[in-house]
Structure formats: C-alpha cells, structure tokens
C-alpha cells in the first residue's frame, strides 16, 4: 500500500547556512543504502527528503535500510494518491484510514500542506473538509485537535500524499558532514561499537587492523574484515589498513619489561594509526577503550598510550559498562562476529601480571630501549600495509 517514505531530520535544521550541505549528504547517503534494493527516486524538497519506491519493492527491507542512515530522526511510510481532485482525495484518505486502522474508536486530527498556492483550497479548509468527510464515513471517530491519537497528514502536490505514523530513525548526523576519523579495529566487541558511535555524529570512517602472523590467523583477519563490512552498513564504505605488526611486537618483547609489553605495543599502534590517519586526512583516532576494563585501559594506561599521540583520540565508550557495549553490539549485529574465538594481537603475549598503573616516565624509559631499530621497523610496517576497500 505504501509507495513512498517521507524522511525527517532534526539536527540538520540547526546548521544555518551550511544546511544544504547536510541535506545533500543525507540524500546521497540514503541513495547509497537503497540503491542495491531497486530503482528508488530520492529527492530533496522543502526541508524534507522524499523516497519514492519502485512498483515492486520489499517494505521491511527498505525500512531496515533507511533505519541505518545517520541523520534521520524519523520517517513516515506514505500512501500516494495519483490525483489532486477533491473526490479522489477524500476517497483515498478514507480508504487509507479504513485499511490502516481496523479499530476505529480513536481520536484524530487532520493536518494539511499544499505545495502550490494556486490549489483551490487553503490548508485549514482542507483540514476541516477532510475531517468532516472522515467523521461521516466512520462515525466512531472523534476529533481532538489538541492531543489526538492519530495525526493524519495530507499533502497536496502534483499528486496527493497521506501519512500518519512515524518510524524512529537512528538520529545523529549524515556521515561525511563532520570529517573523517581513523578507527583502531581489533576484532573484539568494543571497537566496532566505538566506530559506529563516532560515525553516528556524521564522521566518515577509515580503519586500521594490526595483524600478527603467525600468532594471529587468516581467520582472525577475515573476522575483522567481516566486522568492517558490518559497520560499513552504517558508516558507508571505508578503507581498512591491515598492518603486519609481528616484528614490532617481537622486538618489544625482546627489549622491554614483559609487564609493560601491552602498553608499549599500544603506543606503537597509535603511532602507526596516526600515520595512516594523516594520510587519509582524518581529524582524530577512535578506539573502543573503556576506563578500567582491562589493565591497558586504566586511566594511567590510557594516559601512557595518549602520550605518543598528536591527534585527538576519541573514546566514545570510555564510561560504558561492558553490558551496555554488548547491547549496542547486538543492536548493530557485530556481536556474533566479535565473539568468534580467534586470537588477536593484543592477547598473544599478554603478561600474566601486566602493569595496571604505569608511570609515564617509566614507560618512556622502556620505550627508549627500542630506539635502535624501531623507526626502521615502523617504516617497514607502513610500507607493507595491505589496503582493503570495504563496501
């Protein structure tokens, strides 16, 4: 029955003169997600975005796709009446009420919009005449203009449009309107969620994964590619940089105190991530860290890691409990992939008793033990990067 969707957005309205940029980004992103589903027409008009569906389309599938587009506050499935003649309009709206609301003991209000000022009726007149028609056709209905249970909107343009309920969107802002960031993607539960959350604020994503063969397997890497694919359903296409980290890890293992291994390793991950971030014109790094979750995520550890970063590090999960993170992972469908039991490079050499409250000066001293070869090794890791385009 529905032939179109009317998209509403919230925060974009605040953006003043840049507003059109946000609207265009939103329109383009919607086009991108529904393109694989068929020949939809996405148009921008008068502060809304309108999606017209092809003759045969899958309603559920379309709703699901639109729900993944950041920047949408809500959207309404719309019935299209191929006429603006009053009699057709009355009949169409009446049929709509009959089909959508089999229980007709509710209160309602008609709202009207007309696109062309030369339409013979003004909006208030459309409202009152349509209200009267509906009361006559369905005597059980009652009008309540202040707090109705159903708000029935009728829009008259070249055709007529009727809608009365809204499906919540994900909120946030259209991807690409707030720059780009580099996500450190590990294969665990947290980092995909972190990427999703930052992207929701309109940020495009690139990602970097640290691969440590033979300690981590091809399947561990495939898992990260799968996760990147899943979050790209929200963030749009992204580049995934796969860095071979084995030699650096083993070098740290040889030179530094074992209990500091994870912290020092994280410092080099940040440095390498930052290199690719600059190349990709990113404005910051994104990690899935949460205070105190593991030894390398205490406030002291985070400070020791940040010590090497020149870019801001965004940690959207910093104050989240694990269960809250899991809830989001389940919602965005990354959880099942994240819990596949493949070892990632953070756990392979993890000390039985790692430092929990590292002192930055001590860590810097240990880090200095790597001076001889580390720059060259980083250079090699950068040169050997594998770039995977995730779409």
């Amino acid at each position: 029955m529905y032939k179109a969707f009317l998209i509403k957005y919230a925060e974009i309205g605040l953006k003043g003169n840049n507003r059109y940029l946000f609207e265009n980004a939103l329109r383009d992103r919607i086009s991108e997600v529904i393109k694989p589903l068929g020949e939809y027409i996405v148009s921008k008009e008068q502060g809304r975005i309108f999606v017209e569906c092809p003759d045969s389309y899958d309603y559920e599938e379309t709703v699901e796709a639109i729900q993944r587009v950041f920047g949408i506050s809500s959207f309404s499935p719309v019935v299209v009446i191929d006429s603006t003649e009053w009699e057709d309009l009355e009949k169409g709206v009446g049929d709509y009420v009959e089909a959508m609301y089999p229980q007709r003991n509710f209160t309602f209000k008609v709202m009207a919009k007309r696109a062309h000022k030369n339409y013979p009726m003004q909006s208030p007149e459309i409202c009152s005449k349509m209200g009267a028609y509906l009361l006559k056709r369905f005597p059980e209905l009652k009008v309540d203009v202040h707090d109705p249970e159903v708000r029935l909107t009728v829009e008259v343009r070249n055709k007529s449009y009727v809608y009365s309920h809204a499906i919540p969107g994900p909120g946030g802002m259209p991807v690409g309107t707030n720059g780009r960031a580099m996500l450190l993607l590990s294969g665990g539960i947290d980092s995909p969620v972190a990427g999703y959350m930052i992207s929701k604020r309109g940020v495009s994503m690139s990602a970097v994964y640290f691969h440590a063969p033979p300690y981590t397997s091809e399947r561990a890497k495939q898992k990260v590619v799968d996760l990147a694919k899943q979050i790209s359903k929200y963030t749009g296409k992204m580049k995934l940089f796969v860095v071979n980290f084995t030699d650096i890890q083993l070098y740290i293992y040889e030179k530094c105190p074992h209990q500091e291994l994870t912290i020092i390793m994280r410092r080099y991950m940040m440095r390498i991530a930052e290199h690719f971030a600059e190349k990709e014109k990113c404005l910051g790094l994104v990690t899935g860290e949460s205070i105190g979750q593991v030894a390398s995520q205490t406030m002291q550890s985070l400070a020791s890691t940040d010590d090497v970063c020149n870019m801001p590090v965004y940690r959207p999960l910093v104050a989240f409990d694990k269960q809250d993170i899991v809830d989001i992972a389940l919602k965005i469908d990354t959880y099942e992939t994240s819990i596949q039991p493949y070892e990632d490079c953070c756990t392979i050499f993890v000390a039985k008793h790692p430092v929990i409250k590292p002192n930055i000066k001590t860590i810097r001293n240990s880090d200095r033990k790597l001076e001889e070869k580390i720059d060259q090794m980083i250079e090699e890791a950068l040169n050997g990067v594998e770039v995977i385009n995730i779409e």
Binding site: P214, S217, E218, P341, Y342, E343, I348, F349, V350, K352
Partner: protein, 395 residues
Amino acid sequence: MEAYLDNSATTKITDKVRNIMEKALWEDYGNPSSMHMMGVIAERYMKDAASNIADCLKILPKEIIFTSGGTESNNLALIGYALANHRRGKHIITSSIEHPSVHEPLLFLSENGFDLEFAPVDSTGRVIKDKLYEAINDDTLMVSLMYVNNEIGAVQDIEEIAKEIKSIKKDIVLHVDGVQAFGKYRIYPKRLGIDLLSISGHKIHGPKGIGALYVGDHIRLKPITFGGGHQKGLRSGTENVPAIAGLGQAVLELYEDFDDKIQKMYELKQYFIREISKLEGVTINGLPVETTKEFEMEYIKMTAPHIISVSLEGIRSEVLLHALEERGIYISAGSACSSNNPAPSATLSAIGMPKELMDSTIRISLSDINTKEEIDYALEQIGDIVPYLRKFIRK
C-alpha cells in the same frame, strides 16, 4: 615449495575422479529415479559405484547405503540400529577416543533411554580389551569402535575384538567407524565380524559430501531421514550422483599398487619421526611403549601408516601451524585452543597427555602422493621455526 600434509582432514581428488564427476554433473545429469533414459544412465553410475565398493569390501552391492559422508554414516548406523532393535537391549559400549560423529549420536541415544558405557584406552590409544569385555552384560546391544583414530593414528585390533565380544554375547552388533582406516587397510567386514562399517569419500582422494555405510544383510535399521523412500527407504533424498560416481572411482583406484603405497607411507612416517625427534622437547604420540629411539618399523606398523602426532614442548601448535602455512606447509593442530576457546581434545586427554602438551600437539597426515622432498622441506622448515617460536612465549 608446497607440502600438503593434512590428508586426514581431506585429500585431493584424483584426475579420474574429477573426470567422472564432471561427466556425471554436466552430461549425465539425470535423476536416477526418473523412468526415462537419462534416469537410467544416472542410475548406472550408482550401480557401478556400489559394485566397486562391494568388490573392495567383499560384500554385496545391496549392502551399501550412500550417505553424505562419515558423519551421516555413523549417525545412521548408531541411531538407526538402536531405534530398530531397542527391544533387544539398551546397553551400548564405545571407546573414550571416538570421533564426535560417533560420540554425539551416542550421547543423544543415552539421553533417550540407552545406557552408554565407555571402554578406556591405554597411553597409545588402544582400547583396553579386558575392560571392554568386562563391560558386556545381558543387555548389551552394540559396540562401536573406530578402526583408526583420527588424531594419533592408533589402530584397534578389530578382528580379535569382534570375535571375543561375539563369543561373550552372540547377538552383539559391531559398528566400526572406518573413515580413517578405509584405503589404508584391506577391510573385509564379513571376515572381520563387522556388522556396520562407515566410510567416507574425501579421505581417499574422492569428493567431499559423500560416504557410505555397509549394512550387513542380517542387520535391520530404521531410517533417520524420511521422504521419498530412496535407497530402500533407509536414506530418502535424490542421490548425489556425481559424488557417488567420484567415490566409486576413488575406491576403484584404492588397491592399485596398494602394498607399495602403504609401505611408502610407513617409510615416510618413520623418516619423519626419526628426523623430528632430533629436535629438543619432542614427543611422538600413540607409538607402542616398546618403541626405542630407533623407531623400529615393527612398532610403527602397529599404528596407522598416515597419521603422525607430535608434541613440541613450549610451542603453541596453532602458531606453528600458521608459521608453516606461510611457507606452504599445511598441517593440523592436535587440539585447537585459543585464549578464549579452551577445547581440550578427548583423544589426547584419554591417552593421558599432560595439559600443557595438548596445546603443543600437531598432526601430520600423509598420503601416498606425498614425496620425500616434501617431508624434507617440512622438516627443514619446522627445524627452522621451532627454536624461533620458543624464544617468544607467554610469561
């Protein structure tokens, strides 16, 4: 150079297998149940395959049921026999080192009114026969044993066990999981006293997704798959003709130069064991306790020709596996463990392997198409990697 040394996981099909499968898939694609000529031609592939298998096992073609592989054969044998004969007894005996495709259906039966008992094995993976015989009682319905263990290559003395259990209780039925043994031993079920025998295509250079179950003429089974009544109602579903043809062809090639092929595998096995034992901290699993540092052939021949289980102290098998894979060498980890998935192997536990070694156990499995050059390459690479990996361990 490449060396595929994971032939107990699966094998490469032969050229002739590929040819016959292509023909069955592409030209003679009829449904063997169809009444027209296309159906008759398709049916002929099945008849030929059944007769090849029958000749190989010295049984009758009608005693063959085609299945989707070893797992289904084991399920059909165990559940099918138990359901059809539960009035004759509820007690089932198996060993503690069976493959999950035997272990799990038996657990299912034990949850559904059957009594399951496990016969223990010794440190080489051989069933302790006295314990097995003692376990038999008036209610014992069947015994299920694997001929060759897939993880350590232990071989059971099926003929003697069959004779003995049937002398204790005449009507005990013996099911043998022959998936790893088929093609490595001349198995004649009727002479050995095997009533139900499971085999699989892809362990013998045939295709995946196909297997067979020998069901002795005197054995009554109930189906576990229902439908159009194919294969005497025991296994409904249109037969996988190309795979059946491939299995039939692989079986046909099994006994070509059989003794030479087996001898070659034993020699490669002995050579590999001797050489790898020169490294420090190496244990070869599953060999008879009498075996000395010479690894005499008479003892090696008490185990399967193709399976070698090695524990390397201080090495994580999964890491070694990935390091070897980077060099084109493909093996298995004895017990795939990772930090978040501790899954100890039942076989390795049953032979009393210390926990710290389980994570350090690899399996090399040979085929007669492997060469000494490949073995030398693998040995050289393992010798190269092991000391390096031992430098970097979790502290």
